[in-house]
Amino acid sequence: AGQLDMITDTFNKLVNSCHAKCISTRYLEADLNKGESVCIDRCVAKFFAVNTKVGEQMQQIGSQRQ
């Protein structure tokens, strides 16, 4: 259940971050336009890349401390 919490937490952060970065708040239309769709795809990919990179660097720090 702890893992489930972490996954849903990550997902919610992902949704909020990519909305802030990709979706115009002028709300001119109900549908996602092409630019927004592409941005979302790239945003998710980059979020995961950041996730991985931060994890790697923290592992490094952790092993240096030992």
């Binding site: 259940a1 997902f11 990519c18 709300y27 001119l28 239309e29 109900a30 979302i40 995961f48």
Partner: protein, 87 residues
């Protein structure tokens, strides 16, 4: 998530936990969406009711967010599968 390896009792317990979390998540989605669309769309306080512009904006805001969340969910699943599959 794969619960097929758990005992029947444990599976039931997990399903109850997931159902409870889904309910909590739904109400969290609702309040955050209200907050988001109110903040972005409502700025005319010359009357108590929503102007037609504000009304349309809230519709679009809600629908767009749900579509956005759906798309993020699809990409999220794909990325997770990559990790699980071990590319």
């Amino acid at each position: 998530m794969d619960f097929s390896q758990l005992t029947a009792n444990d599976q039931q317990a997990m399903e109850a936990i997931v159902a409870r979390k889904q309910m909590k998540d739904f109400s969290r989605l609702f309040t955050s969406l209200v907050d988001r669309c109110f903040t972005s769309c409502v700025d005319d306080f010359t009357s108590r009711s929503l102007t037609s512009r504000e009304d349309e904006c809230v519709s679009k805001c809600t629908q767009k967010f749900l579509k956005h969340s759906e798309r993020v969910g699809a990409r999220f699943q794909e990325e997770n599968q990559k990790i699980a599959g071990g590319n």
